[in-house]
Amino acid sequence: MGYFDIARFGVGEDLCKRLGYKKIYCVGKDLVVSGRTEKTDLPLIVISKDPGTLIGAVRDSCVAGIVFEDNELAKKVVEKAAEMGKTVFLVVGQLMKTTVKERGVRVGRMRKIILASRKMGARVSLVSFADSEHMLLSAMQMSEVSRLLFDDVPGLFGGMFYDS
């Protein structure tokens, strides 16, 4: 089993290995992140607040996963994602740049997404979407963040982006 992450810049193989990841995917090179569904050769991740856009994205075969912008949960989208086998990505990088109070609010919202996904059977993955080296997290730190978010969700531990 290996852990993966997604960053907005190219991370060297050496640093990637040191951090404990099998691979850190680069946005623009390995996959595309967009606000709407578009035709691309690379896997697409759609970030949006609008449930209609996200439901449309989930139905598309080239979409690998979705991100709820500002962690605003739409249960219909999670239900559809579970049905279509798409991943709901949670952007951990958002937790890093904020105040303690704001972080608490964001953790609460992320937990709501996790609980809804758990209930409906959708897959959840944590990604950093780091835009620079200092915003990256090691696999160990990512696992601790997943414990912070997932620990009290029954029957679920860890939500890191992994393959088996």
Binding site: R18, L19, K97, S132, H134, L136, S138, Q141, V145
Partner: protein, 108 residues
């Protein structure tokens, strides 16, 4: 009988060179950690920068069971004296020697 405290050592890599041998820098790191884990977490975990393990790496000693909390706290520290910096916790171990060797091998 009072049990001897058992320590764990955490190898931390910074994104920028740091001189943790300087007391001011190491105290700054500990105070930033303390701000994240809180006073009670600090007393329980009792983190301390024990040595430098390279130009950008250092080792933190912490009470056993609190290494996860320290790793989480380091992930929230993104600023040191106004300049952006990131900390990666790479490995934890029960012995200091092992981490120093690991850091040397990784060329940190």
């Amino acid at each position: 009988m009072i049990a001897r405290p058992k320590n764990r050592y955490v190898l931390v890599e910074a994104t920028a060179p740091l001189d943790v041998g300087d007391k001011v820098v190491s105290n700054k790191i500990i105070s930033l950690l303390c701000a994240e884990i809180g006073a009670i977490g600090y007393v329980r975990g009792h983190p301390k920068v024990v040595c430098r393990a390279g130009e950008r790496a250092f080792i933190v000693r912490v009470n056993r069971g609190y290494e996860g909390g320290i790793a989480l706290a380091f992930s929230f520290i993104k600023d040191l004296d106004g300049s952006p910096v990131g900390f990666f916790t790479l490995r934890t171990s029960g012995s200091l020697k092992k981490l120093v060797e690991l850091s040397r091998k990784a060329g940190l």
